[in-house]
Symmetry: C5
Subunit: 354 residues, 5 copies
């Protein structure tokens, strides 16, 4: 189950900028490289040692690094490319708040990818994506193999797409766009389940697991919101810097992502409100049901307790109990019982209890 924060205990008191995986699980390194040379974009799998020469080279590039490279390689990155130690610390961390930071020679963006798990019934997975944008290209870091880039990869194979030119500016947009689209898909999935929950609730069906389901959905929305909302600030900051990093002709695209993000955030908030309404409705239904139950009990009790008492009286063994000996006593006795019970029923009917 996803928790709000992960352990950072090991790092308190350690010098800032110290390179350290805060949640290390070794994953083999695999590097996809798209490199633009002579008007062509060529895909190749490269090794860690080839990354720095490409970044320092001429062509536009997108390098996507999957897995956990050794810390020594990050040290080299810092020295050769002038990446700040704090940036590398953020890349190594798996619990970074979404943010953008501008340095002289590069922009650093950290966001969370959220995507559907491939196995059914496993819910959404979340992974941190770190992105370094230089004036020539984009390097992305992801700790595990799964990502949301399949659409981008297929478009990169098509010469006629705008992305094919590997303009770093447009590349960053495409990556953020696909991530935000996945936010929407996940939000929609959670929302569909909440809508279903509402239908069940309002249909009056018995819902023994309502609380558990409610709580699970609420948690999912909370995790989504916590990771999606700071991205709004990231987008706003990117669009502020338009003069330097974002080409004017790409601004409408960033605007579009920002729009989608707003829609996601509003949808998440709308579903949070809906969930909270559902709990209220459930609670009201339980109360209504309890009220019905109590009325049933009270009607039964109020009818039978008095007449049981009357029967009890004539079950006593007093020597001198005159009523017992009249011939029509038993008949009158039943009449009294019926009258008492009828009076009770009339009383509750008048009170509109049924």
């Amino acid at each position: 189950m996803a928790r709000y924060i992960k352990s950072v205990k090991s790092k308190a008191g350690i010098a800032p900028g110290t390179l350290l995986y805060d949640d290390y699980q070794e994953v083999p390194v695999s590097i996809d490289c798209y490199l633009r040379k002579n008007e062509n974009t060529i895909f190749s799998q490269i090794t860690l040692d080839e990354v720095i020469p490409i970044v320092q080279g001429d062509g536009n590039f997108w390098i996507n690094i999957t897995g956990t490279p050794p810390l020594s390689w990050y040290e080299k990155l810092s020295q050769d490319l002038g990446i700040h130690k704090l940036t590398l610390e953020d890349i190594l961390s798996s619990n970074q708040r979404p943010k953008i930071e501008s340095y002289e020679t590069y922009n650093f963006v950290s966001v969370k990818m959220i995507y559907k798990a491939k196995q059914k019934g496993q819910g959404a997975l979340m992974e941190q994506l770190s992105l370094i944008e230089t004036n020539k290209g984009v390097i992305t870091f992801q700790h595990t193999e799964l990502d949301t880039f399949s659409g981008i990869r297929s478009r990169l194979e098509n010469v006629n797409t705008r992305i094919y030119k590997l303009d770093p500016d447009y590349m960053v947009f495409c990556i953020l766009d696909t991530i935000v689209d996945n936010y929407m898909i996940i939000t929609e999935k959670v929302g569909a389940r909440i809508d279903k929950l509402e239908d069940q609730l309002l249909s009056g069906a018995k819902m023994p697991h309502f609380v558990a389901k409610f709580s699970a959905h609420q948690r999912e929305l909370n995790v989504l919101r916590k990771n999606v909302r700071p991205v709004k600030e990231v987008m706003i900051q990117i669009m502020k810097q338009d003069n330097v990093w974002v080409k004017p002709e790409h601004l409408p695209f960033y605007n579009d992502v920002h729009d989608h993000l707003l829609l996601v955030v509003e949808t998440i908030d709308a579903y949070r409100d809906l969930l909270s309404d559902l709990l209220n409705i459930h609670s009201t239904q339980v109360n209504n049901s309890m009220n019905e139950v109590m009325k049933t009990l009270t009607i039964f009790s109020a009818i039978f307790i008095p007449i049981t008492f009357i029967a009890g009286v004539y079950g006593t063994n007093f020597d001198y109990l005159p009523e017992l000996h009249y011939k029509y006593s038993y008949f009158i006795f039943w009449c009294v019982l019926v009258v008492v019970a009828g009076a009770m029923l009339w009383y509750f009917k008048r009170k509109r209890w049924f």
Copy 2:
């Protein structure tokens, strides 16, 4: 039942600006065209092919396109009139957040029309209206036939109205004005039903369907709010750009729409507060009722259980049970019962239970 978001799954990972209906249901195209020539405004039904020449021509115009033109036509629109691909993507989408976007040669506005269904008992319908304002005229896009423009159409037939001149600036105002007026009508309808619900609740009538009604109204208000509130930002942005697109003499009109919008939004919020109060009141009423029920049960039980016990004692078959044999036992027995029951009644009376 209206859901918060519609499916966008098919689009994640697809290149932005790709033209695609996200929720395609073919509707035959029908185009109304009002064209101003030689001081006259002439109405005609035109075909898709005639749209672009008219837009490129001299006269002021309002072209209202109903239905789903083929994607190829949109491509042509983009090439011949310089409409941005993202704008066309937004027109094709049916789940666009209300917004305004200014491009060099045109303004793009996307809002939701909400109007009463013609058939009774069907509630409100919602449709997206996309609007392109050039310096000569206005093109509006709606996917289905129903709209809220009947008032505008009848005024366009009257030479003496201000709208007759087809000034694009004033035309946009008229369209937004009629849309916002319909927001108010729908809000008023929902509000009237909520007011009725409140009257029923406070009259103390039995309300077995309160929760369902409450939930339906809440949902309606949520959908209204979600679609109406962003229009406020649209209005504010339109009025900011007064120097370029809005003529100074039309500013008071836009101000008026903004005012009505504020009234709608405040009314929606007031009804949301009212609804939430109603749930609280209902819940308190249920609790009060339950309390009454419990008191009734307790009074009955507390009076009859002790005296039934006493009757039970004298129903035992002990050989040696002296009280049974005294002549006045039965009379004393009844006295005891009456005293016990009376004491109980006095006790509950003192506790103000009835």
Copy 3:
């Protein structure tokens, strides 16, 4: 019962600026005119035809128009005095959001007057006041006869008052001041009733009508808030324009009204919080009461049900039931009953149920 919005259906789709009473009930027109000539302020009742000449004349004036003049007269007002059609539309409407609008030759202010009904037990009445301030005087429009201007009228008869000079600027202040003072009186009346409700609630008295009273007060506060809060914005806008319309020496007076308005708004909000606390307290009291009721029931049941069972056992007619035949059985039987009942009492005592 006051509703949140009134019908505007008839106006949707009609050209803006069309003059139309949206809630027409004919009220005979009656016009009070205070006119300043030769250092004297003279009161007279005038007719509709005399209004325009006075406004166009030399002296300062306050013209208070009560009732519903014919639409044709408003048309003349628009033509002769240059009043914008939208302003007149707002005057004719009875459901205008409080606002201020500045035109070149006049200021338009629309607020709600709220005042105590003359008949007892009728609560507060509300009426729209429209005000046009020119550089010479003030015209006010009210649809019905009742108003809150008696204090102003009596001061206008006194030569020594500042108001006697009919300075339009100071006149507007006096009108807003008396309206805001009435807000405070009404708020105070509602507040006094809420304070009384709280005292009753905390005194532990039986409150069968609590929910209805609560709901009525909440509604009153909501209506007050909805009409008072936008006036704050009106005041802020008036004080912004001090260079043109408000003479510097009158600014402290406007400041004073703004201060009172803040006090009213804070008081309304404080009472809303208090009301919501009262519902919580009521709900807690009901729960506590129910808890007591349940405990009483449970104590009675738990004491008598076991001993009634024991009596039942010895009421059976088994041929072989040895205990029935011992001499001291009945005595022992009572001892057992007392012990069982005592044990129960001790158990509930230890659990602190009473």
Copy 4:
């Protein structure tokens, strides 16, 4: 019991600036005067007639006026010292919102003093303090005798204190400082009682008066907040005007008061949150308790009702009831009773009801 607003009825419609006690109770006038002459600060009791000469004189001064001077004296103050009529109206009022107003020749500050009552069990008292700061000294007005100035008085007797110089600027600081310190003391007292209430609640003690105590504390906090929060704005406005009225070397002192005020406001808000949590906890405890009660009742009923029924069956007087005549019937009868009761107990045990 402190109410939110006091009566202002008598003033609606009366000309603004009319001098009038809105809540008049005659209190004899007593005036303390500290006057600085020849490097010495001399204390004396003076009469109303001596006030104006001292204010117009040379030396720095602090004049503290206790009680209700006649209205004619205020008129003189207005004429001789140029105090605005609205300022005097605010001094006479006892229901003024805390505020600061700057006039050309003086600053006017109105705040509420809140202090512990001298008699035990009487809670906090509140009194309005009006303060006029001229460039030479400070005049303070309080309607009753009690105040929070004892610390200031004793420091004024000591030649070595900074306050001894009677710098008006520093004097105002000292007065506000002592008032804010008293806010903190009162907040702390209320808070200590709330903390005690929490301890009692969490210790599980029986709390029959919880609701009344809760409500009293909530009211105290509301009154505190209503009077303390606007003082924050007053402080911010004082510190904005530093160039004119506050000497730069005194700014850190004002900063300090502002800091304390923030602490008070945050503490009040924290206790309000705590109180609201306490009500929730109390409510949950009542529900839990009711649940326990219901379980007890249900267990008793479910065990004894079935076996009482069985005893009832064998108490019937059917002629042909074979079981009654077997020798071991009574023994078997008890076995059945024990088995049934045991089964019930096992069932509830399994359901974890006890």
Copy 5:
């Protein structure tokens, strides 16, 4: 148990700037001094008298003063180093709101250190840290021995660390960084306990101590929030002053701390929301459980009360009670009982009560 505010009673009315421990408990003074001379950083324990010469000397320094130096020493500090009396008052206080204040020759920062107690089960401890930054070094004041500086101390022993140069600017960053890291550790610990509480709650386990635990966690979060949130303002103010006090190359480090602080604050808020959801869920569970209990009671009662009544009827001793004498009466009697009980069961089954 941590309370919101501590006693400040003794200080109200006392001249501001008076040096006084507001919560005095004598702790022996112990002073750690790191002094940079000739490119080396030397650690030594020094006495109070050595502090001022070092501060006035040449080298960079970090002096950490633990305990309660005599008031006379603070007087000397004020005179010799020009520390403002209000700064010293804040250092002596133990209940200071986190803040930063800039004076001409130094910056003053006051924050709370929160750290894990060394003994198990004791929860978090909190201590005020006061920090004076001059252009040469940093003096820190802590009243008790415990702190969160062990990581800093070990890095100061290592020549290769950036901190070794004792740059005051970087030193302040390191101190704030370690404090904020400890906020995160404590938040995480509280959060882990809340996550555990949620798991228990959702697993359906019996939770008799839920309310106490809930309340304890809520209090912890409130104390955390109250002390952590103002630090955000401190950080923002530090980063504003970058031109003077913070060297540009250290700004990314401060940014990093600010980022971590945001993460802590968001995490605290997220856990507060979660806690409040948990109370709602608990409350719903209790209600559901009560509903189940009531249904059980009602089913038992409704089945057995009617048939017990029937048995009671045939237990009466009427002389003429014909049914008693038929041979199959007893058999029919049982049939009736079974039919009545069966009908009840069928009725509740249809109502889906079990």
